[in-house]
C-alpha cells in the first residue's frame, strides 16, 4: 500500500463523520492535483464505511459526471443522494445534469425544477438550472418552455453581471435556430459589452453583419472573434471562413488567401 493509501486507511478507522470530512478533503486535494480517478476511489472507499453520506454520494456523482468515459456511472450515487436527502437542491441539480447529459430530458427537467424550488433565492442556481431546463425543453420540442427557461436564466445571469456568457450563448443559439435574429442579436450585443472576451458573440455578430451585406463590419467582428478563439478549432475555422469570403468580396485578395490557406491547412 502506498503512503496516501495508508493514511487513508487510518482515516477510515475513525468515526464515520470524521472519515466523511477527511475523505471529502482528500478527494478535493486529489481532484485539484488532476487525479480525478483517485478522488473517486477515495470517495468510494469512504462510502463503504458511511454508505448513507449524502455529501460523499454527491461528490462521487459530481466527479463521475466530469469524466466522459464514466459519466453513466454517476446515476447510482446521485439517485441515492436524492432519495436520502430529497430537500438537498444540489443533489437534484447534479442528477439533473446527469439526466441531461444522457438524453433523459424529462428527468433532467423535473430534477432541475425540483432543485429550483429548493433554492428560491439562489440566483446562481436559477442561472444554471434554467439553462438546463432550456436545453432539455428544446430537445423535447417544447420551444415555449425552452424560451421561458432561457429567458429566466438570462435574467439571473444579468443580475450577477453576466458571469456566464456560455449560458447566455445557449439562448442565442436557440433563438437563431428559430430564425429569431433580432432577439438573438440583442443578447449578442449584451455579451459583447459585458463579456468582451467571449469569442462566440463576436463571431455571431460577424455572421449577422455578413447576412446584412456589411463587409467591413463583418471583417472587423470576425477578426476579433479570431483573436479570441484560442484553441477552439471550430470557432477558429468559422472565423477564417468568414474572413476569407469577406476579404475576397472587399477585393483584398491577399488577406483572403491567407485565411483560405489556414483553412486548407486545418481541414480535418
Amino acid at each position: 500500500m502506498n503512503w496516501p493509501g495508508i493514511v487513508y486507511a487510518l482515516i477510515l478507522m475513525q468515526s464515520p463523520q470524521v472519515a466523511e470530512t477527511q475523505a471529502l478533503q482528500a478527494a478535493r486535494d486529489a481532484e485539484q492535483r488532476g487525479e480525478a480517478a483517485r478522488a473517486v476511489e477515495i470517495v468510494r472507499q469512504a462510502l463503504v464505511v458511511n454508505p448513507k453520506s449524502v455529501e460523499l454520494l454527491k461528490t462521487e456523482g459530481r466527479l463521475l459526471l466530469r469524466d466522459p468515459g464514466r459519466s453513466a456511472q454517476a446515476r447510482d450515487p446521485l439517485t441515492k443522494a436524492v432519495a436520502l436527502a430529497p430537500a438537498d437542491g444540489e443533489a437534484h441539480y447534479y442528477l439533473s445534469q446527469w439526466a441531461c447529459l444522457h438524453n433523459m430530458d424529462a428527468q433532467c427537467i423535473s430534477e432541475a425544477r425540483h432543485a429550483l424550488r429548493l433554492a428560491p433565492g439562489n440566483v446562481q442556481a436559477q442561472l444554471q438550472l434554467n439553462t438546463l431546463i432550456g436545453l432539455a425543453s428544446e430537445r423535447t420540442g417544447d420551444a415555449a418552455a425552452a424560451d421561458a427557461a432561457f429567458r429566466a436564466s438570462l435574467v439571473a445571469n444579468q443580475k450577477l453581471g453576466l458571469p456566464d456568457p456560455l449560458s447566455a450563448y445557449q439562448y442565442v443559439s436557440f433563438l437563431l435556430n428559430r430564425a429569431k435574429d433580432a432577439e438573438a442579436q440583442a443578447i449578442v450585443l449584451l455579451l459583447m459589452q459585458k463579456a468582451p472576451g467571449f469569442g462566440p458573440a463576436w463571431l455571431e455578430r460577424a455572421k449577422w453583419a455578413a447576412r446584412k451585406g456589411q463587409a467591413a463590419e463583418t471583417a472587423r467582428m470576425a477578426e476579433q472573434a479570431l483573436a479570441l478563439a484560442g484553441m477552439q478549432k471550430e470557432q477558429l475555422r468559422a472565423a477564417h471562413m468568414l474572413l476569407a469570403r469577406t476579404y475576397f468580396q472587399l477585393g483584398r485578395e491577399d488577406e483572403a488567401s491567407k485565411h483560405q490557406a489556414w483553412i486548407e491547412e486545418h481541414l480535418n
Binding site: 438524453n103 435556430n177 475555422r237 483560405q260
Partner: protein, 541 residues
C-alpha cells in the same frame, strides 16, 4: 359545418395537405433489408442499403430495385434472403418480384445503387456498389440484365489496389460527350479482420468514423463502346481521400458542365467544380460548403442538390446525425450561404438522424419540400445513449423558402430507415417515395395529398446528349412564376430516383414556356404546354 370547413383553412388554393398511404405490403413488396448482423457491430452493418426507382422495361411505370447485404463474415449472399430484389410495377398498385428472371440477385455485400443508361440503348442499367464487389448490370432490354463488370472495367478497384468499400455511385456525363460516366463513392478503409472494438458507456457500439482511414472516390469515363476508363487520378477526383456517404450532381455555376457534391462523414464535404477540360477543382471551402457555418464538419450522410428557393440555381441539402442539424446551403451570387437557421431547418432537424433525403414538390405548389428518411446509426442507441433507434419519417413543407414540419400522416411507424427513392409510382402526378429500413421490410408511400397544384413531368430523350438527358436543366414558366429543376438519378443516400424531371405548378394549368438546356449545349423551348401530364421531349438533332 365548422368541421367541414376546416380542410380549406389548411389547404388554400393550389396548396395541398401533404399526406401519404403506406402500401408496401398491399403492393407485394416482401423484400427485407438484411445487414447480416453479427453482434460484433461491424461498421458495414449500419450502412445498408440503397433503393432505386427506374422503369427498367420502359412500360411507362416506375419499378423498384432494392440492394441487400450479405452474411458476415463471408460477405457472400450465401442463403436466400440476402438477394437484391427487382420488382416490376404491374400498374394496379401491385409489384411483382422479377429478380430471378432479370438476373439481378447480385453478389457480395451490397450497399448502394446507381441507375443510368450507360450504353444509350434506351434501357436503364444498374450499378450496384458494395463492400467486396461492385456490379455493372447491363439491361438487355428484354427484361433481363447481364453482369458486364469485368468487361466494362468499372470494377470499383483502382489500378494496383484491392477492392475497397464502395457505398454508392452515380451516373452523369462529366465530359458532355453524350454518354454517361460513372462516379463511385467510397467510404472508409474497412476490413473485417481489422475491425476495431469500440465501447460507449460500457456497451459495444459501432465505431466512430475516426477509427478508419478515409478513401478516395473513383471516376470512370465512358469510352462509348461498353467499356470505361479509370480517370480518377487524371481528373483529380481520386487525389482527395474522404468518407463519402452521398453524392449528387448539378451545374452549380451555370457554366454548362456538371459538378459533383460529395457528402462526407465527419469530414469536410467536397464540391468538385467541373473545369470542362476533363479535370475537377475541389472548391468546397471556397464556395462555403465544406463545413457548416459553425466551422464544423458534420456527420454528412445523404444529399440532394436542387433549387430550393426558385432562383434558378441549385442549392444543397445534407442529412446528418442528431445534434448536427441538416444544413441548407443556398447558392448565391458568389458562393453558397449556410441558410439552415433562416430556413427553419435548424430547429426542425436538430434531434434527427437521417440518411435518405430528397427535395420534391409533394403538394405541387411550386416549392420543393424536403423528405428525410430517419433512423439511428446505432442499433443499440437506447442502451448506449438513451435515444431511440427507430425514428419516424419526416416531410418539411417549403413555404417560399421557409420550412415547417408538414406533419404528413400515413408514413407508417418509426423504423431504422435508410435509403429513399422518389418517383411517381402510380402515375397521378404526385411524387411518391420508396424507403428501405434496416432489418425490416420497405415502405412504399403513395402520395395522397389533396388540394395540391398542377404538375408536369418532363421525360427527356437525348440524341446528341446522353439518352437519359441526365444533366439537362429544365426551366418552366407557368402562371408568371419560374421553376427550375434538372435531370438526375443521384438523389439522397445510396439510392437512385426517377430520372424524369418533376414540377409542381401551383394554380397554373398551363406552362407558358418549357426551356431545356441540354448537357453539351443546345437549348430547346416549348410554349403553351398543358399541365398535368408527362411531357416527352426528344432532343432536336
Amino acid at each position: 359545418m365548422i368541421l367541414l370547413l376546416l380542410p380549406s383553412l389548411f389547404s388554400g388554393e393550389g396548396v395541398g395537405f401533404i399526406r401519404f398511404e403506406e402500401t408496401a405490403a398491399k403492393a407485394g413488396l416482401s423484400f427485407r433489408l438484411q445487414n447480416g448482423q453479427s453482434g460484433q457491430r461491424h461498421q458495414i452493418e449500419t450502412m445498408v442499403g440503397g433503393v432505386a426507382a427506374l422503369d427498367y422495361d420502359r412500360d411507362g411505370r416506375i419499378d423498384l430495385f432494392f440492394v441487400n447485404g450479405a452474411r458476415i463474415p463471408s460477405l457472400l449472399k450465401e442463403r436466400q434472403g440476402f438477394e437484391n430484389r427487382l420488382y416490376h410495377n404491374e400498374g394496379n398498385g401491385r409489384f411483382l418480384d422479377v429478380t430471378v428472371r432479370a438476373g439481378v440477385a447480385g453478389e457480395g455485400y451490397g450497399m448502394g445503387v446507381a441507375v443510368g443508361d450507360f450504353d444509350n440503348d434506351g434501357f436503364p442499367d444498374l450499378y450496384v456498389a458494395g463492400v467486396n464487389r461492385n456490379q455493372l448490370l447491363r439491361n438487355r432490354g428484354d427484361g433481363t440484365f447481364e453482369d458486364v463488370t469485368a468487361k466494362s472495367g468499372a470494377t470499383g478497384i483502382a489500378p494496383g489496389d484491392r477492392k475497397r468499400w464502395a457505398v454508392g455511385a452515380g451516373f452523369f456525363d462529366y465530359d458532355n460527350d453524350g454518354d454517361l460516366d460513372l462516379f463511385v463513392l467510397q467510404y472508409v478503409d474497412w476490413q473485417l479482420e481489422k475491425e476495431p472494438v469500440c465501447v460507449s458507456n460500457g456497451v459495444r457500439a459501432f465505431c466512430h468514423p475516426n477509427s478508419y482511414r478515409p478513401l478516395p472516390n473513383l471516376l470512370y469515363r465512358n469510352n462509348g463502346d461498353g467499356t470505361f476508363s479509370d480517370v480518377s487520378e487524371t481528373s483529380g477526383i481520386g487525389r482527395l481521400p474522404g468518407k463519402g456517404m452521398g453524392v449528387a450532381f448539378a451545374d452549380y455555376d451555370g457554366d454548362g458542365w456538371t459538378d459533383i457534391f460529395v457528402s462526407n462523414d465527419t469530414f469536410r464535404n467536397f464540391l468538385f467544380r467541373n473545369k470542362g477540360d476533363g479535370t475537377f477543382a475541389e472548391a468546397a471551402v471556397l464556395m462555403g460548403v465544406a463545413f457548416n457555418e459553425h466551422g464544423k464538419s458534420m456527420a454528412g450522410m445523404g444529399v440532394d442538390f436542387r433549387d430550393v428557393d426558385n432562383d434558378g440555381r441549385p442549392d444543397i441539402v445534407q442529412t446528418g446525425m442528431v445534434g448536427d442539424t441538416f444544413p441548407l446551403y443556398r447558392n448565391g451570387v458568389s458562393g453558397f450561404e449556410d441558410h439552415t437557421s433562416a430556413s427553419g431547418l435548424a430547429a426542425l432537424t436538430a434531434r434527427l438522424t437521417a440518411w435518405g433525403v430528397g427535395l420534391c414538390d409533394f403538394d405541387n405548389d411550386g416549392w420543393k419540400d424536403l423528405f428525410t428518411a430517419n433512423g439511428s446509426i446505432l442499433d443499440n442507441a437506447r442502451e448506449v445513449e438513451n435515444l431511440p433507434d427507430r425514428l419516424p419519417l419526416k416531410v418539411f413543407r417549403n413555404q417560399a423558402g421557409r420550412f415547417t414540419d408538414a406533419g404528413a400522416p400515413g408514413m407508417g411507424e418509426a423504423r431504422v430507415h435508410r435509403g429513399a427513392a422518389f418517383a411517381d409510382f402510380d402515375g397521378d402526378g404526385r411524387i411518391d417515395v420508396a424507403v428501405s429500413a434496416l432489418n425490416d421490410v420497405p415502405k412504399l408511400l403513395l402520395n395522397r395529398t389533396t388540394g395540391g397544384g398542377h404538375w408536369l413531368l418532363v421525360d427527356l430523350e437525348g440524341t446528341r446528349s446522353n439518352r437519359d438527358g441526365l444533366g439537362a436543366v429544365v426551366t418552366v414558366t407557368a402562371g408568371g412564376r419560374k421553376f427550375t429543376n434538372h435531370a438526375t438519378t443521384s438523389v439522397g443516400y445510396l439510392s437512385a430516383s426517377d430520372r424524369r424531371v418533376h414540377f409542381g405548378l401551383g394554380t397554373a394549368a398551363r406552362a407558358e414556356r418549357v426551356e431545356i438546356r441540354w448537357p453539351g449545349g443546345g437549348r430547346q423551348t416549348l410554349e403553351n404546354v398543358a399541365a398535368d401530364r408527362v411531357l416527352k421531349v426528344k432532343q432536336q438533332p
